[in-house]
């Protein structure tokens, strides 16, 4: 039964169209004719969720099947939530307006750690028990996928199962298993979950238990006999042939990214040691230029969008970028469609491309040196030299660009005050390029925005063993940099607050015990933690105290080589030995070449495709 959303209610909230559905290309089916109802839940607002490519793909994959109806659910903003709670309205899916409890599956995507309390809040608003163990046959199965599920342990208590890796194929295998299970009258929830353990990529945390040592580290993970000891992630081996949405929902209200997103490839050849995606998406797999042009035009035709964005971890590494860009711009120009090129490495080729494709006024250029000195850039394997950066800036200057954005991290392993000062030196050198160029107008108009974030060590990176810097020392370094940059009038310096990043560090490398903290923090009123205006650090501190858990144990403790890590039973294809050898290289300041230059034997060849076999 659909929830009763009166005009009275909708009239009273901000952006009511986020709650009414009915967008062009959204899919409405007859519930009498479907066997399985799947609610794709995005634990943040509509505007953010509707920009998420993974949801678009899985919405399409599931709805292509006549027996399945996949709908969308987003976290209501606080004004809407308040009314829903007052009026007793359950959280519902946008297409049917049916409450969450009517569904067979609630599939969450976990894109960043600080959305965890939103997951709990959405389950609560949907009247679904928060803990997997409290759910009965009358409740939906609650699952999660997405990049945070590579360390699923902090959320293990709340999900019936996790799906690791790329979902295009495995999701339908799960649906098939469910159709079989549903036919059996006496089958229990456990029976279905047991069936799932046979599917590669599915992790059922309820079949595993953790034992701890006296010092709080993990002793071992025990499991039911039938459950696999290692769960390997799923990938689409032939990415060129991967299912791709041939239509796409067109939101009424403006999402964060309002455009056709074109995924040139998955993975990244670079291997920056701080970057989780660089390891978890291995191996790199590309689509062919013709496939991409065809998919772009199909999506433009069915959505009416006026922009195409090339989205990949590092667009410049696409092997046929020149050929592809020529073919695509030929078409986009005809249609007066703009081509957006985020994550391009700045060189003469890419500037030329931007000149050609971006008819709109010149946007700024973005550089991500990440660290201020060569020494530290070698430690993190960011294979870019100061010369590369300054050359790129010269090209930018010659091209008339006057807005430059720079991204750095503070608190990287091995960072010293010299490295922090290196950031200021580098920025000053960039400013000098403009000062010394002949065109004084460009120097006058130059505006540099430098941002630093607080490094968070992530699982499945060579830095998964390192302690995070203390918040005090981070603030100390950040203030030092601020002082150094004050003399440079061309620079505006932005920094991240420390609190959120220390918490993120706990969530990223937490174990099952952290789940209680998340639950308690939610009870304390935490939600939308990644939104400055909603983040309540004190309530989190309180939650750690209540649960008797020391956050620094997770964020600031160095792990021994042999320590059992909470995510050791998850296999992303990249071996733990490789990550450790990369960590050793980092300590020595040695760099590792990219996958195309030289295979370093990370282990991803096991998937039998992609760059490993080019």
């Amino acid at each position: 039964m659909p929830v009763n959303l009166s005009n009275q209610i909708l009239q009273g909230v901000e952006k009511p169209a986020a709650y009414t559905g009915g967008e062009y290309n959204s899919i409405v089916k007859n519930i009498e004719q479907v066997n399985i109802r799947f609610a794709f839940c995005f634990p943040d607002t509509y505007e953010i969720g509707m920009s998420h490519l993974g949801m678009k793909i899985l919405y399409h994959v599931l709805n292509k099947r006549e027996d399945i109806w996949c709908e969308r659910v987003f976290a209501p903003k606080t004004d809407m939530e308040q009314i829903m709670r007052e009026e007793g309205i359950s959280l519902y899916a946008l297409e049917s307006k049916d409450p969450l409890s009517d569904f067979d599956f609630l599939g969450f995507t976990l894109q960043y750690e600080m959305c965890y309390t939103n997951v709990l809040n959405m389950l609560d608003l949907g009247n679904v028990p928060l803990l997997a163990k409290d759910r009965t046959k009358d409740h939906p199965f609650v699952l999660a996928g997405g990049s945070c599920t590579y360390n699923p342990e902090p959320m293990a208590d709340f999900f019936d199962f996790f799906v690791l890796g790329e979902g295009e194929e495995v999701t339908l295998e799960i649906m098939d298993a469910y159709a079989v299970w549903k036919k059996q009258k006496d089958a229990t929830r456990k029976d279905f979950l047991k069936m799932l353990t046979k599917i590669q990529g599915v992790y059922v945390p309820g079949f595993y238990d953790v034992e701890y040592n006296a010092d709080g580290t993990i002793k071992e993970m025990t499991k039911e006999d039938f459950a696999p000891s290692v769960i390997q992630k799923r990938i689409i081996t032939d990415f060129d042939k991967a299912v791709f949405p041939d239509n796409d929902i067109v939101p009424f209200i403006e999402p964060v990214h309002d455009r056709v997103a074109l995924e040139l490839f998955r993975g990244c050849i670079r291997g920056c040691r701080f970057c989780q995606a660089g390891f978890t998406y291995r191996p790199v797999r590309e689509k062919k230029p013709d496939t991409l042009v065809k998919q772009a035009l199909q999506l433009l035709d069915c959505t009416g969008h006026s922009e195409v964005a090339l989205t990949s971890l590092s667009t410049s590494d696409y092997s046929s970028l020149g050929e592809f860009a020529n073919k695509l711009t030929e078409e986009t120009e005809k249609r007066k469609v703009n081509l957006s090129l985020p994550s391009l490495r700045v060189d003469s080729f890419s500037l030329d491309l931007m000149e050609k494709t971006q008819k709109v006024r010149k946007s700024g250029l973005t550089f991500a040196p990440e660290a201020g000195t060569q020494r530290l850039r070698d430690i993190i394997n960011k294979n870019i030299t100061e010369e590369d950066i300054l050359n790129a800036v010269k090209i930018a200057n010659a091209g008339g660009y006057t807005t430059i954005k720079l991204y750095f991290m503070l608190g990287l392993p091995g960072e010293t005050m010299e490295d922090v000062e290196g950031i200021a030196h580098l920025i000053n050198k960039i400013t000098d390029v403009y000062r010394q160029s002949e065109n004084k107008k460009l120097y006058n108009r130059l505006s540099i925005t430098a941002s630093t974030s607080f490094f968070v060590p992530k699982p499945f990176t060579p830095f998964q063993w390192v302690p995070q810097l203390s918040k005090e020392e981070y603030l100390n370094r950040q203030q030092h940099l601020d002082k150094l940059l004050r003399d440079n009038r061309k620079v505006r310096y932005n920094w991240h607050e420390g609190d959120l990043s220390t918490l993120e560090a706990v969530m990223a490398r937490g174990d099952r015990r952290v789940g209680k903290v998340i639950y308690t923090a939610w009870e304390n009123g935490c939600k939308f933690d990644s939104w400055d205006e909603h983040f309540k650090y004190d309530n989190w501190t309180e939650a750690f105290k209540t649960c008797g858990i020391d956050p620094l144990f997770y964020s600031m403790r160095e792990r021994e080589k042999g320590e059992v890590l909470p995510w050791d039973h998850i296999d992303i294809g990249v071996s733990r030995d490789f990550l450790w050898s990369e960590y050793e290289c980092a300590k020595k300041g040695e760099t590792t070449p990219d996958c195309r230059t030289f295979c370093s034997g990370c282990g991803a060849t096991t998937f039998g495709g992609g760059v490993c076999y080019e």
Binding site: N7, G12, P16, K359
Partner: protein, 226 residues
């Protein structure tokens, strides 16, 4: 040769809550989906030549919405309507398309609008509430504070109302109001309701509002825009 075409369209129940900005973006995309190429402005940031008549407030529906589109390759009016309707989301529908005789923008033509309010009282009998609304509107002046970006001022909405009719219909009060609209003098229907709600002690639901017509003035008389 490009040509300006004036469309009349409706914004129905399913899209009641989309804003004017959302509507504009949606229309632009619908033209693209329909394969109808619009002319674009020159310059660094070209945008399609598409302009709208008086915006509807969020939450108001209407079959009397208008837009002017400059179309690159003109097609027969019937085909434009058909193609556009195939490309529009549910709740939006084009009814008419004409090549306007006068070249003035549709927004500048608008002088009057007619609104229908349907509202249910919460704490008094329906006949009492009907009389209450009649009494309020029958006053010589009905002042209300109108807030603009910087300041607020008191305005007499009666100055901007040409005619009104209030009657009882089942459990609801039904109120039809003809008032100033457009760029010269404009009375937002939500302000009318705000005034009534302020002058009565009775409680009611928020009214459901529909714009019944949008008019231009010819020979001193309001006539429909198309």
């Amino acid at each position: 040769m490009s040509e300006t075409v004036r469309f009349q369209f409706g914004k129905g129940e399913q899209v009641r809550f989309i804003s004017h900005l959302d509507l504009m973006r949606c229309m632009e995309r619908s033209f693209r989906r329909a394969g109808i190429m619009l002319s674009h402005t020159e310059g660094f940031n070209p945008h399609p030549k598409l302009s709208f008549g008086l915006p509807l407030p969020v939450g108001v529906i209407s079959k009397a919405c208008y837009m002017d589109a400059v179309i690159e390759d003109l097609l027969p009016m019937e085909e434009l309507i058909q193609r556009l309707n195939k490309a529009l989301p549910e709740g939006l529908k084009v009814f008419h398309a004409v090549i306007p005789e006068d070249k003035k923008a549709v927004m500048s033509l608008v002088s009057h609008a007619r609104y229908l309010f349907v509202v249910k009282p919460l704490d008094c009998p329906i006949d009492v509430f009907t009389d209450e609304i009649k009494n309020i509107l029958n006053q010589e002046s009905v002042y209300i504070e109108k807030e603009t970006k910087k300041k607020s001022k008191m305005i007499n909405i009666k100055d901007m109302i040409q005619s009104y009719e209030v009657k009882q219909d089942g459990d609801n009060v039904v109120m039809e109001i003809m008032c100033d609209a457009g760029s010269v003098s404009n009375l937002n229907p939500m302000l009318i309701w705000k005034a009534i709600a302020m002058y009565t002690d009775y409680k009611s639901e928020l009214p459901s509002v529909e714009r019944l017509g949008l008019y231009k003035t010819e020979n001193g008389k309001p006539v429909p825009v198309i």
